[in-house]
């Protein structure tokens, strides 16, 4: 993966997670294979992501990248 793609922007991993896991096209139907664990894992993440104030607490966590405020 080209890390520059993500590093080149003023973003945080939390912003990525919020979009990739919670936004975008949701396709439903029998053709879509669902993986049971994902919803549960995401629920856990959602709790963390629900408040920007928690970002500070998450700083340094192995799952979370550096928080960047806009320069």
């Amino acid at each position: 993966m080209d890390n520059a793609v993500t590093r080149s922007k003023d973003i945080t991993l939390l912003e990525i997670l919020d979009r990739v896991l919670d936004k975008g096209v949701v396709i439903s139907g029998d053709a879509v294979i669902s993986v049971a664990d994902v919803d549960l894992i995401y629920l856990g993440l959602k709790v963390l992501l629900s408040s920007v104030e928690t970002m500070e607490q998450l700083r340094g966590s192995p799952f979370v990248g550096p928080m960047q405020e806009a320069k």
Binding site: E15, L21, L45, V52
Partner: protein, 269 residues
């Protein structure tokens, strides 16, 4: 064969660049009419959500964004085979087409504004006390004091909301000037004054960034989180009619899918 779906693009052509997705698999386009589904093959279910897989997913949609209008698909969408994918594309075709038209040549930006809610409240309370000195020092009965306290809380909260509305309105004027669409949320928490996303035409990106810098310099005591450009994650709107195309519409669409189109993706592996 299971297909991991990254996004829908406004092209049925083969992807010229080499893009690798989850598990390092080649990413290719499976065309349907004049749009395409961007997929890679996947052998086993993804083991949970990890930083790596999320970034790999996002990196694919970002690379696509450079050359196509993209509808990013939710993480971990896996379709059971090419035929099922084409069936999905058929069901959602009109929605996909309409959304691609809306987001073409546009990118999404996220803006979060954090204000010092404690200080704002303190200011409001001080102002309130200043204007109500006589009332506050009078010796009321316990009942009156109780009601007055409740009223004070109401007044303070109203003023708090009023100030939030005012700040958001002013900031939004600057941002909306260069945005085609927007979604704003007020006070998701007391500190998170504004959580907004804007859909901005690519040629207005610079103006939008400048508007942000302007707002930021006007209130340096607030904190800001600016992110983007993103694919239009927050602006995909699927109608409830998806999957309910009339028989005649389905037949029309199927006629447009040629065997050649279906094989384009396979050739590129």
């Amino acid at each position: 064969m299971k297909l991991y779906l990254y996004g829908i693009i406004d092209s049925s052509d083969r992807i010229k660049d080499s893009i690798y997705g989850l598990e390092g698999a080649s990413v290719y386009n499976i065309p349907f009419c004049n749009i395409g589904a961007i997929v890679s093959e996947i052998n086993q279910p993804i083991q949970g959500v990890t930083k790596g897989t999320v970034l790999e997913h996002e990196a694919v949609t970002e690379k696509l964004m450079a050359n196509f209008a993209v509808l990013p698909v939710r993480f971990q969408t896996i379709i059971d085979g090419r035929d099922n994918l084409l069936s999905v594309m058929q069901s959602y075709y009109k929605d996909f087409r309409d959304n691609l038209d809306r987001v073409r040549n546009k990118v999404e930006f996220g803006i979060k504004v954090i204000w010092p809610s404690d200080k704002i409240k303190e200011q409001i309370i001080n102002t309130y006390k200043e204007g109500n000195k006589k009332v506050l020092i009078s010796s009321d009965s316990p009942n009156k004091r109780f009601i007055r306290k409740k009223f004070e809380r109401y007044v303070i909260n109203e003023e708090f909301q009023k100030r939030a509305n005012k700040y958001i309105k002013v900031m939004d004027i600057f941002f909306s000037k260069f945005a085609a669409e927007k979604k704003t949320e007020k006070l998701k928490t007391e500190n998170l004054l504004m959580d907004a996303v804007y859909l901005v035409e690519k040629d207005k990106e610079r103006n939008f960034r400048e508007a942000f810098e302007h707002v930021k310099s006007a209130r340096p005591d607030f904190k800001y989180l600016f992110s983007g450009p993103w694919p239009a994650y927050n602006f995909v709107v699927l109608s409830k009619k998806s999957g309910l195309l009339r028989d005649s519409e389905q037949a029309d669409l199927l006629d447009k899918v040629t065997q050649d189109q279906i094989l384009v993706g396979a050739d590129s592996i």
